[in-house]
């Protein structure tokens, strides 16, 4: 591996610029003649637009133009799409309502964009936006999913009767019902997965620049997948043909899923730039981020787990209602279906599983994938139910899990997934040992002496990363393929550029991807540069989400490196007059095995480019491309144990201990992996204890629209996290990697809630378990 290769714990190359404030984000981009935009947004949850009067806004000094949805329609700009088609169980296609980038006819949530104001300064644009008079006729609204499918609920989209988008199922309900009927014990629970607001540190932004001289568009934007943005904007939104549209996602300050989607704002900025013939920049303020970034989770579910007389699971039955918000965002249909129900087997050997999922429109911000996307919802459901079952059955929660673990791989679940590798017992053992599980009773007694209620909770999670293969997801309704691409360019002096379709927005790719190259070629990571985030520089790519950049993105680099190495060896063999098969690449040199004959890497590269002396018929140059399409998902898994103390007087929960034992397969940089786990667990503890998006049920106003009311986890809310890993390699990619970006957020919420319910002796507790909620549960 070498000092900088795979497994090396080295500091991130990108940190210097981030820590010293020298990152370059979309808002840092300036082009000559650039103007500023503000959006006019609906103050109502649901209203008819009877007219828009722009005259006062146009009179504001500095305002260049005010553009609305009517003009957007006239110019042929398309409606937003959903990238995954789901078919209801009766065979009908999903009932998708129209999402115009600027609303026409109706607004459907507080924050819905109605018009854009372009002005010389941001302040003038804001002034103008305030002066646009929209004549709204308020309509009754509904924000809660259960209320939205009830009889007589306000109808949000004409073509989604009763607000239902689809009623989908997975698995065999007949066998499941039979197993339930003959069960020795059934654990049944109603479980809510609370709605979250992503809160990336950098708000979304877009700078659209139409160059009329060249008839060419450039869009700088806060995207996790600039190529997908270009594809969708050209193929569906009719903004510009692909060859005339360049999308650049420079440094991006966190995404967590919320920056996967193509939003109205980047489309409208590009279009407005053409209409006004000036570059148009929009940067969301924090309130817009709260209101208009795609939210996460928001499931209401019922789960039944059936056990036989030996406490083995015989069936799982799930019924879920998922809130999609006012419009179907890009992956909104996949999140509560194929990213969710397919993981309902958990780590357990279960013969019969059935899930029914209904999705529903409400007058709220669109809901889409958010760190974990579907898998946290599945994990929370199963792991709360398993802990509850253990309590009901009077057995140790760890042992009930262990008894039901899948122990042989590959393992085909009844819900599509074929788990390729794992050792769930190893993670459980590691976590129990790190948590001193057996010493808990003594700690509980000691806490009781101090008037505190101490509890312990487990969560054995499994998730699926690197969504693949393309053919399989295509057959399930995906609109895109889920491969990744890489180009490895060896320069004439031997330095290396890697062009990747993955996008880094906090993950540290500039370091880990370089580590892979260092590992393979024995060169220093300083001689390797990672190029990403620009459709003019990088060949087509699919971007970063679902912890796919390692398992899929690095695998593509690995395959391209195979090709580079093969050619390099041919050149070396030729120059060293040796057999190609005897050439090894080591420590930055090409060597003839068993001899002292060597050729420095840079000399081989120079030879490739001078082309003075290459093997007969070989093309000059050294640059290779690969598109990698994995054979299967990868399945990171692990065990989390949380220990809490609750203050019965106030309901305050103190997380005393948090242990994470994960199996991520091959690890490139343990420090970065630990950072990902820390961040994921922080987000999961945030969901469990602090974060909860709330809309006013009457007015549909967002109540948690600022940090005064939306509680983000802060350092002092979090314990020191004990992170360790065990390893089984994924056979589905050449590196044996699984992915670590979301595990923390997936595995932690049930561990926290299981610990609190253990402490207080009341299982009737929903997230976020705020002091008030816990106090009410203690006294309820």
């Amino acid at each position: 591996m070498g000092a900088e290769g795979i497994g090396a714990r080295i500091a991130r190359k990108e940190d210097k610029r981030f820590i010293t404030g020298k990152g370059r984000y979309t808002d840092d981009m300036v082009v000559p003649g650039m103007k500023h935009a503000m959006f006019v947004r609906s103050p109502h949850a649901h209203a008819k637009i009877n007219g828009i009067d722009k005259s006062a806004a146009l009179a504001v000094p500095g305002v260049i133009d005010v553009l609305d949805g009517q003009q957007l329609t006239e110019d042929g700009i398309g409606s937003l799409i959903c990238g995954w088609a789901i078919t209801s169980k009766d065979g009908s296609p999903m009932n998708m309502g129209d999402w115009r980038p600027l609303a026409t006819g109706k607004v459907r949530y507080v924050g819905d964009a109605v018009a854009i104001v372009v002005a010389d300064t941001r302040a003038q644009a804001r002034e103008g936006a305030e002066k646009v008079e929209v004549d709204y006729e308020e309509l009754p609204s509904v924000t809660d999913s259960t209320a939205a499918i009830a009889e007589g609920a306000p109808q949000i989209h004409e073509n989604a009767p009763g607000n239902q988008i689809f009623d989908w199922e997975l698995g065999d309900s007949t066998t499941v019902d039979a197993a339930l009927a003959s069960a020795a014990h059934i654990t049944e629970m109603d479980v809510v997965n609370n709605r979250l607001i992503p809160n990336a540190m950098e708000p979304r932004a877009a700078l659209g620049h139409y160059n009329s001289a060249e008839d060419h568009y450039t869009c700088w934007t806060t995207s996790q997948n600039p190529h997908v943005a270009r594809l969708v904007m050209s193929a569906f939104y009719n903004v510009a043909p692909e060859n005339k549209l360049r999308v650049i996602a420079p440094d991006v300050g966190g995404g967590f899923g919320s920056k996967i989607y193509i939003y109205p704002e980047e489309i409208v900025c590009l279009w407005a730039s053409k209409r006004t013939d000036v570059p148009v920049k929009w940067v969301a303020d924090r309130t817009e981020s709260f209101m208009c970034d795609a939210h996460g989770r928001d499931h209401v579910s019922n789960i039944k787990i059936a056990f036989d007389s030996e406490n083995r699971i015989t069936a799982i039955k799930v019924d879920t209602l998922a809130n999609i918000g006012a419009y179907m965002s890009l992956f909104s249909s996949a999140t509560p279906t194929y990213l969710y129900a397919t993981l309902l087997s958990g780590q357990y050997n279960v013969a019969n599983i059935h899930a029914n999922v209904r999705t529903v429109y409400t007058n709220t911000a669109p809901v889409d994938a958010y760190r974990g996307a579907g898998r946290p919802e599945a994990c929370y459901l199963i792991e709360r139910a398993m802990e509850t079952a253990a309590r009901e059955l009077g057995v140790d929660p760890a042992e009930l899990r262990r008894k039901n673990f899948i122990t042989e791989f590959p393992h085909q679940t009844p819900v599509i997934m074929a788990y390729d590798a794992g050792d769930f017992g190893a993670s459980l053992d590691a976590a129990m040992q790190a948590a001193d599980y057996s010493g808990f009773a003594a700690r509980k007694a000691e806490a009781a002496g101090r008037g505190k209620l101490r509890g312990i909770g487990l969560s054995c999670y499994i998730e699926a990363c690197g969504i693949a293969p393309s053919q399989a997801v295509g057959s399930l309704g995906a609109g895109v393929g889920l491969w990744e691409s890489a180009e490895v360019r060896v320069n004439a002096v031997g330095t290396i550029e890697v062009l990747t379709g993955s996008h880094s927005h906090g993950q540290g790719h500039e370091t880990t991807f370089a580590q892979l190259v260092a590992d393979r070629l024995g060169v220093g990571i300083d001689t390797v540069s990672i190029v990403h985030g620009d459709t003019d520089k990088v060949q087509m790519g699919m971007g970063t989400y679902g912890s796919r950049s390692g398992a899929v993105g690095m695998s593509a680099i690995s395959v391209a490196l195979d090709r580079v190495e093969a050619k390099a060896k041919k050149i070396a063999a030729h120059l060293l007059e040796a057999d190609e098969a005897d050439i090894v690449i080591e420590g930055g040199e090409l060597k003839v095995a068993g001899t002292d004959k060597t050729l420095p890497w840079f000399q081989m590269a120079l030879a490739a480019y001078t082309a003075h002396n290459l093997p007969e018929g070989m093309e000059p140059g050294l640059k290779e491309t690969a598109f990698f399409d994995p054979a299967n998902f990868t399945f990171p898994a692990g065990c989390y144990i949380c220990e809490v103390e609750v203050d019965p007087d106030t309901g305050v929960t103190d997380v005393i201990q948090f242990v994470a034992a994960d199996d991520f397969g091959t690890i490139i940089n343990p420090m970065i992996v630990e950072g990902q786990v820390h961040g994921g667990v922080a987000q999961g503890i945030g969901q469990a204890l602090l974060e909860g998006c709330a809309y006013d049920p009457q007015s549909g106003q967002l109540l948690t629209a600022s940090y005064m009311d939306y509680t983000m986890p802060r350092a002092d809310d979090l314990p020191s996290i004990d992170v360790s890993t065990t390893k089984t390699e994924s056979p589905s990619n050449p590196l044996g990697m699984k992915g670590c970006g979301e595990a923390g957020a997936i595995g932690s919420p049930p561990a926290v809630i299981n610990a609190i319910t253990d402490a207080i002796g009341n299982n009737d507790l929903t997230m976020p378990a705020t002091p008030q909620a816990v106090w009410a549960a203690i006294n309820g």
């Binding site: 309901g651 602090l690 009311d709 509680t711």
Partner: protein, 265 residues
């Protein structure tokens, strides 16, 4: 933020005349409430009169048991003041838990009490310490000063110059922070002084800061946490919102009061 005219006053008199001459003027102290409100476009004063450069409004003095704090004294200065730490450590402790370092280095005691946010910390202390609020025209007792949510006895353009109080024999403040904003969801300041025991409660009451008179009577007879067992807090007068129901707040008032008494020793 809307356009506004900025004025820097160098004396209280100048500030008073500037504010009197303004169309719809606002005094500016630390700006930690006023500026965010203006940035959100929820306030649009025609003129802003900056008090931060008036030396007379700053500083802490202790003469015998009499403590005086200039209105323009920052939370950080109160928190770090050796005089306050010795005369009334509970007040220094309270100031040290307001907001974050940025807020404490800018925000002032005068601005805080003039604003009378129902979740602000200082009002509980002022009430419990029986403080006197000094303005450029009169003196007002804390009991009379805090009128209701965001409402005080101040007249238009009246400027707080200082607060003063007698150092208590014992005192303590216990704050239960709102999980999101970390303002007080319930804060109880208990002070035992020459005039008896006073209990100021902030964050909880639907009408802003209030005195828990039942608790004062119980503690006057027996200054101990246990003395509060017999008292009850009526939840009907409590705030209720996303973060805490009125029942929960009523519970917190009692719990925080007991902890304050225990901390006061």
């Amino acid at each position: 933020m809307y356009k506004t005219n900025y004025h820097r006053a160098s004396s209280v008199e100048e500030a008073a005349s500037l504010i009197a001459g303004a169309d719809d003027g606002k005094l500016l102290a630390g700006g930690q409430t006023l500026i965010p409100t203006m940035k959100q476009r929820l306030a649009a004063p025609s003129d802003v009169v900056d008090l931060r450069h008036i030396a007379d409004l700053k500083g802490i003095s202790v003469a015998g048991s009499q403590v005086t704090i200039g209105a323009g004294t920052t939370h950080a200065d109160v928190a770090n003041s050796a005089e306050i730490r010795s005369a009334c450590p509970a007040l220094a402790d309270l100031a040290s838990h307001i907001g974050d370092p940025h807020v404490r280095n800018m925000g002032t005691i005068g601005g805080s009490i003039a604003n009378n946010d129902p979740a602000a910390d200082y009002p509980a202390a002022m009430v419990a310490l029986g403080a006197t609020i000094h303005t450029n025209s009169r003196e007002i007792s804390a009991d009379d000063f805090f009128v209701g949510m965001f409402e005080t006895a101040l007249n238009d353009g009246e400027i707080i110059t200082a607060v003063s109080f007698n150092a208590p024999e014992k005192a303590a403040y216990q704050k239960f922070p709102n999980p999101a904003s970390r303002y007080a969801m319930t804060g109880v300041f208990v002070a035992k002084g020459a005039g008896g025991v006073r209990v100021g409660v902030t964050g909880a009451g639907s009408d802003g800061v209030f005195r828990a008179t039942d608790m004062e009577a119980a503690l006057g007879a027996n200054f101990s946490g246990g003395a509060l067992d017999a008292t009850s807090v009526d939840s009907s007068g409590m705030l209720s919102d996303l973060h805490g129901s009125s029942d929960y707040r009523a519970n917190l008032v009692k719990v925080m009061a007991r902890r304050a008494v225990e901390a006061a020793g």
